[in-house]
């Protein structure tokens, strides 16, 4: 079908929130580099952080094709109120239990979102979704194995993971904050929408957590952390952006 202006706006909104989530979480997770719990895990976690930056670059390139500025400018020159990532990804890395819970919740949502987008009518998006499928599959395997391992470790490891799950769940629900063009995206066959994604995700993470004896808080007992998609952020995002763009800001015109 012929895309109207509203369809294109909706598409851009979708691409921006996905790209921003991946850019910010990629940067956050890279903060573990050199500080990970053991060398092997440090390497794996850092490598996945790089994957996320690569995925965000692919999305920023699609935005550039739709008339937005070049990826470096978009990534490094916006302020926090121009970012559309959810609060989950901007929170500091905390202890490793929080970072693992975030990894588990986010990456399952990411895997389902990209799987849905493999059938998107917007070809650029369906192409990169197929391209990243294997990469994201590894990310969810990694998260699932750690969930299992820590459930079988010690009483402390299981209790800490459970409390990280409880604390992270309301933040994770912020991933699915609806945008202003849900109907248009669905109508054009671009994306089925945040509600469809959330339902699939809930089923997946509930099953996975139950396998290992964890419980998920009731969805009606928690308040989702909303606002990120509309540019309202916690106090943690702007310092991250300052740090991330520090080198770029020294000489914005530099030729790399």
């Amino acid at each position: 079908m012929e895309l109207t202006e509203r369809h294109v706006e909706g598409l851009k909104e979708l691409l921006y929130k996905m790209a921003d989530d991946l850019l910010i979480l990629g940067h956050r997770n890279s903060e573990w580099t050199g500080l990970g719990p053991v060398l092997e895990e440090d390497i794996a976690f850092s490598s996945m952080a790089q994957d996320k930056l690569g995925q965000s670059l692919a999305l920023f390139e699609l935005l550039h094709e739709l008339g937005e500025n070049v990826p470096d400018i978009v990534a490094f020159t916006r302020n926090d109120n121009q970012f559309h990532n959810c609060h989950l990804v901007e929170m500091p890395i905390g202890e490793y239990d929080f970072s693992l819970a975030r990894h588990f919740f986010f990456d399952h949502a990411d895997a389902i979102r990209f799987a849905m987008l493999e059938n998107s009518s917007f070809e650029g998006l369906s192409m990169i979704s197929r391209k990243f499928r294997g990469e994201i599959k590894y990310h969810t395997m990694h998260a699932d194995v750690w969930m299992k391992q820590l459930s079988q470790g010690t009483e402390e490891s299981k209790a800490r993971m459970q409390s990280a799950i409880n604390a992270t769940f309301p933040l994770a629900l912020g991933i699915f904050e609806e945008g202003g063009y849900e109907a248009e995206l669905k109508e054009a066959g671009i994306f089925e929408g945040e509600t469809a994604l959330k339902n699939q995700w809930l089923e997946k993470v509930t099953t996975e957590l139950q396998k290992h004896g964890y419980t998920l808080p009731g969805i009606n007992d928690v308040t989702p952390a909303l606002g990120g998609r509309k540019g309202f952020h916690t106090e943690h995002l702007q310092p991250l952006l300052n740090e991330m763009s520090e080198v770029f800001q020294i000489d914005p015109g530099a030729d790399w």
């Binding site: 903060e31 050199g34 092997e40 390497i43 794996a44 194995v145 740090e243």
Partner: protein, 124 residues
């Protein structure tokens, strides 16, 4: 004294440079695993190195990022180092005369086949 570093993450952590908390004890619960990588289906798995992991499931996950994040790979094996049986270097002499036994090397026959084929072609 709080450690000040060029790395902002270290400075943020507010670590005391007198503290001994950060010093790890030797790993007494994790095993070493040997990693074997297959680059193409049908080829042999080749030993590429080792790593630490608490069990084979995590060893496979770690192996993927440590040994197969660059270049081609289609399959990985991990084997607990303790499960690998090896010859002793003091018995190295059991291999001493092997290099002399050229007639055991299939390459010899391959070359002969090609020479015979060439001769047959010349004579025809």
């Amino acid at each position: 004294m709080i450690i000040k570093s060029l790395d902002p993450r270290i400075t943020r952590a507010g670590l005391d440079d007198e503290s001994k908390d950060g010093i790890q004890q030797p790993m007494d619960q994790w095993f070493t695993y040997e990693v074997f990588q297959q680059k193409k289906r049908g080829t042999h798995h080749v030993h590429v190195g080792s790593l630490h992991a608490p069990d084979s499931e995590l060893a496979i996950l770690f192996a993927k990022e440590q040994y197969a994040r660059r270049g081609q790979c289609v399959n990985l094996w991990v084997v607990k180092t303790a499960d690998v049986f090896a010859t002793e270097y003091e018995d190295e002499d059991i291999f001493a005369t092997t290099p002399e036994k050229k007639y055991r090397e299939p390459e010899v026959y391959k070359v002969m086949d090609r020479i015979q084929a060439y001769k047959a072609k010349q004579n025809s």
